[in-house]
């Protein structure tokens, strides 16, 4: 299967990107240059700064030193609109593995080192700008990766358990069990998804702590997501049930649970992985939309959807288009996961391997 998968170039690319995203999610504390919640009155809607690598000295020499030009804030005395202008004479030097403000890594121990940090610890730089409270967008997106990417994973994990179990017994036993599970699935599919999500998440108490809310949202998302998986698993079970090796296992004296989990499930692992990787992006999109509408996760939790909520009005488009950058992150994540899922599905399909 790995060989078939490798032939699918786009899928390999997707795999790399997905791996990178989960790496970012896992090591957000080390990768984000600043505290995502640290605001600054002097950097309200600060535009992105360009990184320059070569620093020239007045006598014509040069050194390798990544830096950005500092920006000066000016306020129009009549309109009171703020504008930022680049000041090439003042620079903010950036260093790799420099020291930043200490944060608790995974809530357990303190770290100071960052992948990129300003040389002087009181200076700040904004590679993709800052929001209306002067918080660094790059750091916020990096922290948002953690919630957004994990909500898909946790949600799919829950739908997987539900889907494999219900799909499994439905496909293996058939008869009235199959009929009733399938009617439940059809009932679920017949319900309009978005109003249900809206209704359920609106029903969550506003004063719940962020972690509860996070968990509740994943449950709501997976309540819908399991139906598709249950169908896929049921279909595979129906096909496998008549295979001779399943009959052989029964005649060997295996219990029904052993037949299902020891003999049948391993032959469909590849199919399940493929449908899981196609289900994760759906979850990510669902979380983003809910949070965007203000019904999913709420600040101070940071997710891409929460960040996008900042970009809800026309003013943003005009004044601070960089606030849309979490949307770019969503696009990249969803596309990468879809490529990966497509590649896995094709590689798992024995019929697709001929003639390629």
């Amino acid at each position: 299967m790995w060989i078939a998968f490798r032939r699918h170039r786009l899928a390999v690319f997707g795999l790399i990107v997905v791996g990178l995203l989960y790496f970012i999610a896992a090591f957000a504390e080390l990768l984000a240059p600043f505290d995502p919640d640290a605001s600054s009155a002097r950097a309200v809607n600060h535009p992105p700064q360009i990184v320059r690598f070569i620093k020239t000295t007045p006598d014509g020499g040069w050194t390798f030193q990544p830096h950005v030009y500092a920006m000066a804030q000016k306020r129009d005395p009549i309109t009171l609109a703020t504008t930022f202008t680049s000041d090439p004479s003042k620079t903010v030097d950036i260093e790799f593995f420099g020291k930043g403000a200490p944060v608790r890594m995974w809530g357990t121990f303190e770290v100071e080192r960052r992948l990129i940090a300003p040389k002087k610890s009181d200076e700040r730089f904004y590679l993709i700008g800052a929001d209306r409270l002067g918080r660094d967008m790059l750091s916020r997106i990096i922290y948002g990766t953690r919630i957004s990417m994990s909500i898909g994973l946790v949600g799919v994990l829950m739908s997987l358990v539900l889907g494999v179990f219900l799909g499994g017994i439905s496909g293996y036993f058939g008869g009235w069990i199959d009929a009733s599970v399938q009617r439940i699935v059809e009932f679920k599919l017949a319900m309009p998804t978005i109003p249900i999500w809206l209704g359920l998440s609106a029903a969550l108490p506003q004063d719940w702590p962020p972690t509860w809310r996070y968990f509740a949202i994943t449950v709501i998302l997976s309540l819908i997501g399991w139906t598709e998986l249950a169908r896929v698993v049921r279909g595979r079970f129906l096909a496998l049930r008549t295979e001779d090796f399943v009959t052989a296992a029964r005649l060997d004296g295996c219990s029904q649970m052993r037949v299902i989990f020891r003999h049948m499930l391993p032959s469909m692992v590849s199919h399940i992985i493929a449908s899981v990787s196609l289900a994760i992006p759906m979850m990510i999109i669902a979380e983003t939309s809910l949070s965007f509408l203000g019904l999913g996760l709420l600040p101070p939790t940071i997710s891409w959807g929460v960040l996008l909520k900042e970009a809800q009005n026309v003013r943003t488009i005009a004044e601070a288009p960089w606030l849309f950058s979490p949307g770019v992150a969503v696009c990249i994540a969803v596309l990468a996961l879809n490529f990966l899922g497509d590649g896995l599905r094709d590689a798992a399909d024995p019929y697709a391997q001929e003639g390629r």
Binding site: L251, G253, C254, H263
Partner: protein, 578 residues
Amino acid sequence: MSAAPPVIEVKNLVTEFATRHGPFRAVDDVSFTLRRGKTLCLVGESGSGKSVTARSILQIVDPPGDIKSGKVLLHRHNTARGRQSGESVIDLAALNKRSSAIRAVRGRDIAMIFQEPMSSLSPVHTIGDQIGEAIRLHENVSKKEALNRAIELLRKVEIPNADKTIHRYPFEYSGGMRQRAMIAMALACNPGVLIADEPTTALDVTTQAEILTLIRKLQDDNGMSVLFITHDMGVVAEVADEVAVMRYGKLVEQGDTLPIFEEPQHEYTKMLLGSVKQLDRPSTRRLARRASNPPGDVLLSVDALRKEFHIDRGSFFRKTAPLVAVNDVSLQLRSGENLGIVGESGSGKSTLGRAILRVYDTNGGSVNYTGKDGVTRDLVTLDENQLKSARRELRMVFQDPMSSLNPRMTVAQLIGEPMLVNGMLQGRALNDRVAELLQMVGLPASAMERYPHAFSGGQRQRIGIARAIALDPRIIIADEATSALDVSIRTQVLDLLLDLQERLDLSFIFISHDIAVIRYFCDRIAVMYRGRIVEEGPTEEVCNTPKHAYTQALLSAVPHPDPRMRGTRVRTRYREPA
């Protein structure tokens, strides 16, 4: 005998498949000549490259296969069709795969029919549409005219009520009718050459005999040349004028049919014919064993066993009649005896085997089995848990060793599974037992850690047998256990089963469509037809003097691997009395 003019000359053909481990030569330097009005049989076991050779002629080898070198000369002026035109010789191997030149040859000069007619016919078009299209592709005729020609063709291939059946879909045809329709389609443009790739392998013997006669008749009528690809020496003896034997992509021997059958030169041909001839008579070893050790008491007694399938529930108010797959069948099996159940596809023989083991729930009757403890139980009345002890003593060997061995388990896990789940052995003791079982079926102990796909068909069937004997059973039900194997391996597996019978004191119920195999292996035979047993008795008695009309028809259709017997027997067709 003056040689007929050549129609197709294949010269030093090489076809290779690009694989991850470098090119694989499926056809290696093959040369032969097909002459006008003659039948050349290309014989070989699976993987010998005979199908690829045939496909190379028409340049329809599946990618990544490609013709590397050699020539395929079509002498168009020598075919029955192109006789009027002037001399024209085309090298088909030099034409582009997608060129219109090769497309003009396909279907018009050279037509091809395949093994599985269902997958070669489009399921969403009527037979008439499909034959009509084949005509219109090569000839400029109106739709109506094409349809009339199609009806005429169907009549030619002896399909009854051709003007009505032409409007039916392939799924409404039986297997034999589908293959007739395929032949009709192949004949649509009156080709000079017909390539038949295992055209009768998927069919029952009686249907096979009819199709063979039909091809022969059409060939005589049209002066067509036939390249007939088969693995079955009986069929070769029946139809071939010339024979070419292939092995590992190479042509090992070719010549006229009689000399090949009577004085084969090459070792491989000798071996192939030897194993075929050996199969058509009782095993001497079995006869010797029975003389010293006659069958004992009745072990298993099946009484009026019945199994119905409800195909669909019919309409809401009305129930459709169920399909009766096993219709009140009664059998007895004695200890140390081999009982053969023979029948054509759909006769219910496989269902019977599975119903005895209660893979299916039954609809009446009883299966009384006397266990090792001397207690007789009716398996029909036991529940799944109570069945466990009986299923330890009654085991099954399946037809297709590929699908009956879980591809994700190692050989050690596969063979160990029944002992593990029955709580008999674990850990080291289990490992030692698996090694012992592997040795009994003639496989090395090193096979334990490998997966089933790493083995050949014959070796896989040995693994299946090892799994069956793991629980020290008394009865083994073998469902077409040798049908998926090549002839030369078939005898080896049958001999292994006989050997195990002597060592472990086994009894067999051997289900097969192949009379030769049954004759070699079984003491008694039961002939099944449409869910019923129509005749039962000692094998030799039934085979030599069949009493029931169906048995007579069945035996008359079996091709004999002796070209001298060709046309000496009168073939009868059994029609069920209304």
